[in-house]
Symmetry: C2
Subunit: 365 residues, 2 copies
């Protein structure tokens, strides 16, 4: 919608995977999200713009080839993956599904570019979780290494903490390979956890809402804290809560994708950006939500629970994120006013909240 509003011809490819998982695991986004056909109709009615839809699975190479041959994209934005760390850690079947679904989807996109559209720029969604929490500064994709008096510029070594994050490491390796060996044009956006509910486009009509998840499968931490505050559940901090990550507002995500598209990689170039705007610990975020919610009349508790994940709970974290700012990103940093907005939106949709989907049950065991 963001790119369509700016005049680009858009074709959306989706296999409704998340909707299938919603049914399988009894999950719902806070605000009901109509199917793409309905949303595309609403978008057209409001703006006059057309968003094409192709419902199918990018793991099906015949389907994907057909989409490329007909649409002939100038750029591809590839977000089509199983995106949940806890889902990938539930059992062997879901681990293997996550790995093969994400890898085959990405490899299919690579091959369809190679075969039909070698000049098309691919913008791929990665994750900051690929890096893990190393004891050195995290650079943007590459690291200049000096070793025994010699130098090289190498992919930054990765240390993912879940099978899902691992699948993204595999993707990045494949993408770097496809740039090196087949001269494709690739940008990888290593995104941090996203927060926020609204964009300019979703505000046009309730039926254009984004999927705001607060559950343990698709939810992210600030969203969950907001829902916990409103429903009177203690904010669940995993272990010590000193896990630091880089966060980004959903509005800034859109800016980043547009900036990446406006500055395509050269042929053979694999460009990497760290796509977040601010670092916070889990405790920082819990404290911010508590402060704002208490002011609004809630009485929020913060509760440390046994960490269902296996991760460092205290660690060094300093990740570079200058690439997108240099291209013009103007971050909307997290403010108390913003959190008030999130809380008000959650309150307005409180009757939709599934209370039994808030607490984590999946462990890394």
């Amino acid at each position: 919608m963001f790119l369509s509003a700016k005049g680009h011809d858009i074709c959306v490819v989706d296999n409704y995977f998340k909707r299938r998982i919603e049914k399988e695991l009894h999950i719902k986004p806070l605000i009901p999200v109509p199917d793409l056909q309905e949303r595309s109709r609403v978008w057209n009615a409001i703006t006059g713009k057309i968003i094409q839809l192709k419902i199918g699975d990018i793991c099906d190479y015949t389907f994907l080839s057909e989409v490329f041959k007909v649409f002939e994209p100038e750029s591809v934005v590839h977000f089509a993956e199983q995106p949940s760390a806890p889902y990938s850690m539930m059992d062997r079947d879901k681990a293997v599904f996550t790995l093969t679904n994400n890898l085959v989807g990405t490899v299919n996109v690579i091959f369809v570019l190679k075969e039909f559209s070698p000049d098309t720029h691919l913008v791929k969604l990665g994750t900051m979780g690929e890096y893990g929490t190393p004891n050195i500064d995290i650079e943007e994709g590459y690291l200049e290494i000096e070793h025994n008096g010699r130098k090289d510029r190498m992919l930054f070594p990765k240390k993912p903490g879940s099978i899902y994050h691992m699948s993204k490491v595999h993707d990045s390796d494949e993408l770097y390979f496809s740039a090196r060996i087949w001269d494709l044009r690739i940008t990888d956006l290593n995104q941090g956890p996203v927060y926020g509910i609204e964009t300019d486009e979703t505000q046009m009509d309730e039926r254009l809402a984004t999927c705001f998840y607060y559950d343990e499968i698709f939810g992210t931490v600030l969203n969950r804290f907001t829902v916990q505050a409103v429903t009177g559940i203690p904010l669940t901090v995993y272990g010590k809560g000193r896990q630091i990550r880089g966060y980004i507002n959903i509005r800034d995500v859109l800016q980043c994708v547009e900036l990446a598209l406006k500055h395509p990689s050269r042929k053979g170039e694999f460009k990497v950006f760290n796509q977040f705007t601010e670092q916070y610990s889990v405790l920082d975020l819990a404290a911010s939500v508590k402060k704002v919610a208490d002011r609004l009349g809630y009485s929020v508790k913060i509760q440390s629970i046994k960490n269902p994940r296996r991760e460092d709970e205290e660690h060094y974290y300093n990740a570079k994120h200058t690439g997108l700012v240099e291209l013009g990103l103007q971050p909307a940093y997290l403010t108390e006013e913003m959190i008030v907005g999130f809380i008000r939106k959650v309150e307005a949709n409180k009757e939709n909240i599934l209370m039994d989907r808030i607490m984590p049950k999946i462990t890394w065991g």
Copy 2:
């Protein structure tokens, strides 16, 4: 056979993948290799030892679980992968097959260990090709990195040159993960190209021969040069021929696997060895084969052909390989006498050579 001869109880799991590819692509090993049932019978008749067989696919988790529950292995040696770089580069189907077959097989082994046998030591065959040809010294698996005044020990950054080698990078990442997150005991053997025809066990009976391949799918360079010398075909050097790799004799491979098994990793440890004994350029090997073969009365030509691969043809290469030597590896370095032996063995089986399978046809295009 090597481990059985030393008194270990052995169960071999195989899905006859290579035999299927032999038929598909019209390939044959130099010396006919009977099926495993026949070889196991011969082995038993000669030595009195029993090698159990399970014919099935480790990508089938039910099958693999059954094998583990019944056999209860103390150690697992996992060599069960699509092993050919050119095969993986033939087309999309074979690329996707290589990636998914190797990844799912490895992940299944990881899960079967996690579920049924968490103390079992896994020895996995990796490849030196995972590293590519960086401009710095290649360490054994890990690199001590100092960056902006801080330090960490990280996985050595990888830069594989084919989809097959990429699949091994994915494996290594999964194995490191399974040690870190699930406390498994893992050793990864990053092996260089293997040469050689005979071991003590194959010499007991012609029917116990190893698969000596000289074709572009499963063959390695020294084997191919030997066959080219004997059949009067110029030794085919890809491009400049200054590609340097670490090579190892097939007899030393057996020593290395045994040493790895005798020194199992601790729980949670991912140990990596670089499994080769000497570095040579392609031109070095061509010159050695020419020298020996010419002395035996051949008149060998060395011919540079357009490189079917995309790789650096001149590069720095200095890979550490002290880990296995420290455990006791006594390398059998490549000698002229050894090459004489290879040539004599090829001569004795000359009538089996498929002349149309010697020259490379698969490109990295």
